[in-house]
């Protein structure tokens, strides 16, 4: 399977937090000060860790770039210890950023209209992509869903540059229901879909696209220790019965290659040993 990431100029830097913008209780945008600039493109990610965290949390966290350049930023949702610390970080606090890692979204084919389907914090790589599309003079179509209105961070930024449809499961914003309810009616034969969100959502989006014969790329998210193909901790089941690795073969990848029926819907296998990677 030839989807190996381009060997961009990835490097590890220590950069101070420039500012942190809280969006509700759970979401934060962290912007870093990188005077020499970052080559990060939409779809790529960085391994991010507080430079002063000490022994724990031990591993950096894979985070999609929300912006690149001299002020690269990430959108985080507070889930565990690592993101909790990120959500409390103050300007000036140093972070290590290893990136850019992984591959980019494949640009839409000529004459196809990009349709961006985001779930919650999955908006990050898609908003960055939408900005790139808008800068090229096009207006993407976006469908952005969450459990409630509190789970649609940065919806205003997305709405500014795309034709945006919002959905919430509780009906507190936009259409009540899921992104897939809206996607069915908006897709046409000239669409090209890009999606990032929970696996179940991406699986449903991919299934609709397959049925309608519309190209679809997904942005994979899995636990990850290194981010560059060494730990082998980020396998994603493929339709040929094997695995690809989210860090090197993705995170952006043709949905047809991914076997969502064997991904994290399945009962979770608990890792059982400490230290190293065997």
């Amino acid at each position: 399977m030839e989807h190996t990431a381009p060997m961009a100029a990835r490097r590890m830097i220590t950069a101070p937090l420039l500012h942190r913008e809280s969006i509700g209780a759970s979401y934060h945008v962290l912007t870093f000060d990188v005077p020499e600039g970052s080559d990060a493109q939409p779809g790529q990610f960085a391994m991010v860790r507080g430079a002063e965290w000490g022994d724990a949390p031990l591993l950096p966290r894979p985070m999609s770039y929300l912006t690149g350049g001299t002020t690269p930023s990430i959108l985080i949702k507070v889930i565990g210890e690592g993101t909790l610390r990120m959500g409390r970080a103050e300007p000036g606090e140093p972070f290590t950023l290893l990136g850019p890692l992984g591959n980019t979204w494949r640009p839409p084919s000529r004459n196809r209209r990009p349709v961006l389907v985001a779930g919650g914090v999955g908006i990050a790589p898609l908003l960055y992509f939408a900005k790139q599309i808008a800068a090229d003079g096009a207006t993407p179509l976006s469908i952005y869903g969450g459990r409630s209105s509190r789970d649609l961070p940065l919806e205003d930024e997305l709405s500014e540059i795309s034709e945006t449809h919002l959905t919430t499961e509780d009906g507190s914003r936009g259409t009540r229901g899921r992104v897939t309810d809206v996607l069915e009616s908006l897709l046409d034969a000239g669409s090209e879909v890009y999606t990032c969100g929970p696996d179940r959502m991406m699986a449903a989006v991919a299934a609709i696209c397959a049925k309608r014969d519309v190209p679809c790329q997904v942005s994979l998210e899995t636990p990850m220790a290194c981010g560059y193909g060494v730990c082998l901790g980020c396998p994603v089941p493929t339709t040929d019965g094997g695995y690809l690795y989210a860090c090197m073969n993705g995170p952006c990848i043709d949905a047809r290659l991914v076997d969502f029926s064997r991904s994290d819907h399945a009962p979770r296998k608990v890792a059982t040993t400490a230290g190293g990677a065997k």
């Binding site: 590890m12 396998p235 979770r268 400490a274 230290g275 990677a277």
Partner: protein, 289 residues
Amino acid sequence: MNGSNVRIGELDLANPVLTASGCFGYGLEYDEFFDVATLGGICTKGLSLEPRLGNPPERICETPAGMLNAIGLANVGVENFCTVKLPTLRERGVTVVANIFASSVADFVKITERLEAEDGVHAIELNVSCPNVTVGGIEFGKDPKLASEVTRAVRQSTKRPVWVKMSPEAGDILAVGRACEEAGADALTAINTIRGMSIDINTRRLRLVALRIVWDLCGAVSIPVIAIGGIATWQHALEFIMAGASAVQVGTASFSDPCAAKHVMDGIAAFCSQNETTVADLIGAARSS
């Protein structure tokens, strides 16, 4: 020579810092971060006779005591290693320790014979201690008789140094270590991954266990012991060296910082220079004081 060089049996290493199998790929993945040829050596991802896909997700989970994993020995297989990975490592002058595993003595020998046909492999490290596969691996490392059998068979199939990687799961690890020594092992590596669940909240459990085992092993065998287990800094490395280890391997730390092994290597060199000492003099220093 800057005082960092060490000798592991017949093998001279430029310094005592190696990277642990499974935590450094096949070495070249790190070459863009620093010159991996400057390391004492790299231990490859464990090599099997045939390529292996590894376990289904999820494979890793971080805990306060370290990274839990169940990778399942995913690897490219010995043939691909020899034809695709090794030529570049050889050309770059990297000191390569080929880590190998199998579920039978015969397969251990076949892998060894395949490697024997190649230049650029400096030592062979037997993984007789992986707990994450259903067949083979750890059984060899728990039983002195089986460990001895596999060590002897590999010893007879290669002219290269043979290191045996000890399992902390062995009931009597010192008996296993002595059995490997008698069977012709040139060095012991301690320790492989711990089967575990997270319990300790504020300690690096892996390193505490590893240090105790390394200390005991160094007293039990006369061949060199190479330490591994939670080593993330040069200070950690020196703890193990002073406990008697002749060299160390850096593992999980390479994930959070690709240059972790380089920092360990540089830190040891700086320590030796500041204290006008050599690594050789520091090996086992804590034992005699």
